[in-house]
């Protein structure tokens, strides 16, 4: 904040001279202006250096004896450990030291195990390696209070889950992934309560959300083929649960880019609805045995999320505030359609009508709350639906044309009405 802005605030009577002086002193002090930058640059430097060590070490030194290579393998690990002990004893209050030393040790663990395996030509599987790395590295996030290590642990855990289920590169148990994520979530809750203003809280939310979306399907047991309709229903249920989290009190004062649960659940739900608006999708939606996969971990988790979402949505709709939003209820529509198994036309028709209903709800909400962003969001949903129907060869051209005209007119009318309403209010 510069002096001119402070003087403006003093002239407007928002702050007094003494407060203005205190603010000016605070921003000029070296600790406040450079502390955060130091941490970021330090972390980036440590990250680059650690990755560089791994790459250098990956270059085999065939001319060295086994003992020398073994000594060099343990060197980064030793340095990382000494740094961590020193940090805990002497620099415990400095977050830059904690983050950098933990980061170095986190990567040194991987490089040591890798290099020793290389020296002794141990084949091993990637999932086993990742699991051992996590077991030895995740505690650093707790003991060193390192957020970067915690973020990397989320990424490596996701890698492990994808490796054992999507890439099938070795035996492993998805329960390890769930256990590690559970520990990291607990850590995040503890730290975000203690340090609510930390930027790392937002990063953790993004990492958790992305990990959940990418790894949700890893809960499906190998060899179990689940029909498409259950995939869509389960993911819509997941997004509904995350939408509730994103609109809870914990995220009330968060900007949209700090609230991935809200943003990604809306985006994810709409993507699924748009995809299911095609008639052809309903033709293939249960071509694999479409029976409900009872007993599968994937479905157990889905049912748990279903119950939580359903109960909370009912409470919100019938409570004092009478909150109702159709978008997070999409999972109910999808489940009903999945059990009834309608024909191709009926399934896509219901989804199209439901999506249109959601769009109109947002337009109405934007209009009532005098919010152009929400209003245009509703119109954007209709426009997207219109574009998709344009490429839907099963609908006659004339109907596509009419729908487009109506959508375009809707954009103009809705925005014009709202702006005119605002102008009238201002004149009053």
């Amino acid at each position: 904040m510069n002096s001119k802005q402070l003087q403006e605030l003093v002239r407007s009577g928002i702050i007094d001279d003494i407060t203005a002086q205190k603010i000016d002193d605070y921003f000029k002090s070296p600790k406040s202006s450079t502390g955060r930058l130091n941490i970021i640059l330090g972390i980036l430097g440590a990250l680059m250096a650690s990755l560089g060590v791994i790459l250098v070490i990956a270059h085999n030194w065939d001319d060295l004896g086994r003992s020398t290579k073994t000594f060099l393998a343990f060197l980064p690990l030793t340095i990382g450990q000494l740094l961590c002990v020193y940090t805990l004893l002497k620099k415990n209050d400095t977050s830059a030291w904690r983050e950098i030393s933990s980061l170095i040790l986190f990567f040194a663990i991987a490089s040591c195990i890798s290099l020793v395996s290389q020296i002794y030509h141990v084949s091993g599987s990637m999932p086993d390696f990742l699991l051992v790395w996590l077991a030895l590295g995740v505690p650093l996030g707790f003991i060193m209070r390192s957020s970067v290590t915690s973020l990397l642990s989320i990424a490596v855990a996701g890698w492990y889950a994808c490796d054992i289920r999507y890439f099938d590169s070795g035996n492993g148990s998805i329960y390890y992934y769930l256990l590690i994520m559970g520990l990291l979530v607990l850590r995040h809750i503890q730290f975000s309560n203690k340090y609510p203003r930390s930027n790392f809280n937002s990063w953790h939310n993004w990492f958790f959300m992305l990990s959940a979306i990418i790894c949700f399907a890893t809960l499906i047991e190998p060899g179990l083929n689940i029909a498409g309709k259950w995939w869509f229903s389960s993911y819509l249920t997941l997004f509904s649960a995350f939408y509730l989290l994103g609109t809870s009190l914990s995220f009330e004062d968060k900007r949209w880019y700090n609230n991935p649960y809200f943003i990604l659940s809306i985006a994810g739900s709409l993507i699924i609805l748009m995809y299911c608006s095609y008639q052809d999708v309903w033709n293939k939606i249960d071509y694999i045995d479409g029976s409900f996969p009872i007993g599968s971990l994937f479905m157990w988790v889905t049912m748990a999320l279903f119950l939580v979402s359903f109960v909370i949505q009912i409470k919100k709709a019938t409570g004092e505030s009478k909150e109702f939003n159709p978008l997070p209820l999409s999972f109910l529509i999808m489940f009903i359609l999945s059990f009834i198994i309608p024909g191709r036309l009926a399934g896509s028709f219901v989804v199209n009508m439901w999506t249109l209903f959601i769009a109109i709800w947002y337009i109405r909400k934007g209009s009532l709350n005098n919010h152009l962003g929400i209003l245009n969001f509703g119109l954007l949903i209709i426009a997207t639906l219109a574009v998709m129907r344009f490429f839907d060869s099963d609908i006659a051209f004339v109907w596509r044309g009419i729908f487009f005209l109506m959508t375009g007119a809707g954009f103009f009318i809705a925005n014009y009405s709202l702006l005119r309403k605002r102008k009238q209010l201002q004149e009053v």
Partner: protein, 192 residues
């Protein structure tokens, strides 16, 4: 203050575990290399790359499949015990593949790669724990070329020297024309 030292103590315990994991690998493999019986496994290599462990030569062994009784059931990825014996040609040959630990001391713990069944015979294809030979990235493709040449010329047998001890195994060296591959590569470099 007490909490601080408690945290340091916990950290030291974790650090001990961080040392223990690679140290255990070193202890086990050193034991096998020093006390294990040496077998020669004939090879046919392919060259992949592992980002964490540098360039490697993937070793395909001639003795990688075994015909089994159709009454036995093997599954992909299943742990198996492969009994080996030195043949009259001096190379290792598989004599049995079991799901349980055999009485013989000359066996390797491996996994089932895949199963092949047809009217004539049932074959189990084996994935050994010593199929990767790690070396300097520029040397791996050169090594592969040496192996390809050795396949075409039967007077240049190529094999991996494997130490085996109580089911565990470790690569001692890769041999072409009676010489370790590192020496072969050095001789090639010096001729240039």
């Amino acid at each position: 203050m007490k909490t601080k030292y408690l945290i340091v103590a916990v950290l030291l315990l974790i650090m001990a575990a961080q040392w223990a994991v690679p140290a255990r690998i070193i202890y086990r493999k050193s034991n096998v290399l020093n006390k294990g019986k040496i077998f020669k496994f004939k090879t046919e290599p392919i060259d992949p790359s592992d980002p964490f462990r540098g360039r490697s030569v993937h070793l395909n062994f001639e003795e990688r499949s075994f015909e089994f009784d159709s009454s036995k059931e093997f599954n992909m990825g299943q742990k198996i015990y492969v009994t080996i014996k030195e043949g009259s040609d001096g190379y290792a040959h598989i004599t049995a593949v079991e799901k349980k630990k055999p009485a013989s001391s000359d066996f390797v713990i491996a996994t089932v790669n895949y199963i092949s069944r047809d009217d004539n015979k049932d074959m189990v294809y084996i994935s050994y724990p010593f199929e990767e030979y790690y070396m300097e990235e520029s040397k791996a493709p050169k090594t592969e070329r040496l192996f390809v040449r050795s396949e075409m010329d039967t007077t240049l047998p190529a094999y991996a020297s494997i130490a085996v001890l109580k089911g565990d195994a470790a690569i001692k060296d890769l041999i072409i024309d009676g010489k370790p591959v590192s020496i072969m590569l050095k001789e090639k470099e010096s001729k240039k």
